[in-house]
Symmetry: none
Subunit: 260 residues, 2 copies
DNA sequence: CGTTTTTTGATTGCTTTTGATCATTTATAA
DNA sequence: TTATAAATGATCAAAAGCAATCAAAAAACG
């Protein structure tokens, strides 16, 4: 018997490479060997095949995504790679809800950042955000962009605290698209930082509709600072990992649930 | 033998260089070595390649963005590099004026951006800014950072407009460090955008001391939107290009002039 | 079950990339 | 201006990556 790690078959390897490439735009051969439990030779063969198909461009040491025209602000933290596929699909579902001339509040967080990336072409909306990374993402072009004023929380690269109220209170949003760290029926919506929580509350109170984007891992989790009950949200977009009873409960509370 | 630092692939390096160049307009080889975990030789090779492609222009010590005519009308020749150096020196002089526990307003602009870079170690101050680039520069660490809220003006990557007043009016600054596009005795201080002018006025009105950083090229120039008379400034820092009569005039008006 | 085909991983020699050295050029300061 | 320091380009050796080949292992097939 071989080691516990299953051998990865060719089509599956290709899928993984595609995913990694979409996430990072650049992959190293060495990296892929570990990820795929395959030898460098196999990885190179795979890359060569995929290059023939036009999926990627090989470079010394690895490969880059062929649609590398997209620009990323900086190669900073990339722990956001976890569950990236689902997050992206959640973001895409949220994108479908945005209508022309909407004024949208976009919260900080990795899922909402994915959404920001999808908004680069939407010049027909106004986007208000407290996320420095979202702003950087859209600094080159895209929606009319309004930043919330306040103190930078470096850990999350968001603008938070009491000062944010000064900006937010003068605005109204058609939709507020929020992220969360924890979500339970009993404890409601929670996040790591009180300043963050305050700003979230402000934003939600000014919104006609609150759309919550949450990877299913967040369900059942509780963090430090409470920023609202689950029924603050009008619409939850999550992935298939959501427990059925939880989904039923939300629907009973008149919260729309979209599973992607 | 290299240790823990991740290897950076060639296309990654190029992308990072492009990004940095877009943010700063000028990059030093030394700087890039650190950023890319590469040797000077490699960095020079990369720069040479990119120069061939026309992405940048190499100068002694590093490279300048080829599209640095954002605010510089005559930015094609060697003057760019020279001006960049002078701007850095102006920024350095301004740095010397900043004292522990100061609360500083930092205006947008290329010279002030140079100053932002010098502030990465100053954790002993509070910095308020409307410059997205300055914020990005300091997003990793440095002073307590407060961003002004308002609309993003993409051309200059600054936050401007009436909304900025909501944030600024609640704050007081020990020093406001301002840039300008034009500066004459008669027309005063002028900039390209009315929204920009409004925000500048707001910031200066809340400051105990107004320090103006201006490359000497700006002297004698007039732009579109007036944001104050020259005597709004308490202190001008500029380079040797300042005409002597102009300097005398300012001093007669009780404005301190520092020439670097 | 055995044979054939495909896929994989190891070995080898070759190419590209990288970083160190050093003489030369270029900037800065006195 | 000259002196001093810094940056550069050329060269070269080491390291990393690569393609080709081949044998072993898996999968497919009868």
């Amino acid at each position: 018997m071989r080691s516990r790690t299953e051998k990865t078959l060719a089509p599956e390897r290709e899928k993984i490479i595609r995913t990694l490439l979409r996430e990072r735009r650049v992959v190293r051969v060495e990296e892929l060997c570990k990820e795929l439990h395959a030898s460098p030779a196999t990885v190179r063969r795979d890359l060569a095949d995929m290059e023939k198909k036009g999926v990627l461009r090989r470079v010394h040491g690895g490969a880059v995504s062929v649609e590398s025209r997209l620009e990323e602000p900086l190669a900073f933290d990339d722990k956001t790679a976890i569950a990236a596929r689902e997050k992206r699909r959640i973001a895409k579902a949220a994108l479908a809800l945005i209508q022309p001339n909407d004024t949208i509040y976009l919260d900080g967080g990795s899922t909402t950042l994915d959404l920001a990336r999808l908004l680069k072409d939407r010049t027909d909306i106004t986007l208000v955000t407290n996320s420095l990374r979202a702003a950087a993402e859209l600094s080159g072009g895209g929606p009319r962009l309004i930043l919330v004023g306040g103190e930078l929380r470096r850990q999350a690269q968001t603008i938070v605290g009491t000062l944010t109220a000064e900006t937010i209170k003068t605005l109204h949003f058609d939709k507020a698209i929020m992220g969360t760290i924890g979500m339970t029926l009993k404890e409601g919506l929670t996040t790591t930082d009180p300043g963050e929580a305050f700003t979230k509350q402000q934003a939600m109170s000014q919104a006609g509709e609150v759309i919550l984007l949450a990877h299913s891992e967040k369900i059942g989790g509780i963090s430090f600072a409470h920023f609202g009950d689950v029924d603050c949200a009008d619409h939850l977009i999550t992935d298939k990992g959501i427990p059925e009873p939880f989904k039923k409960q939300l629907q009973k509370m008149n919260i729309k649930v979209t599973v992607v």
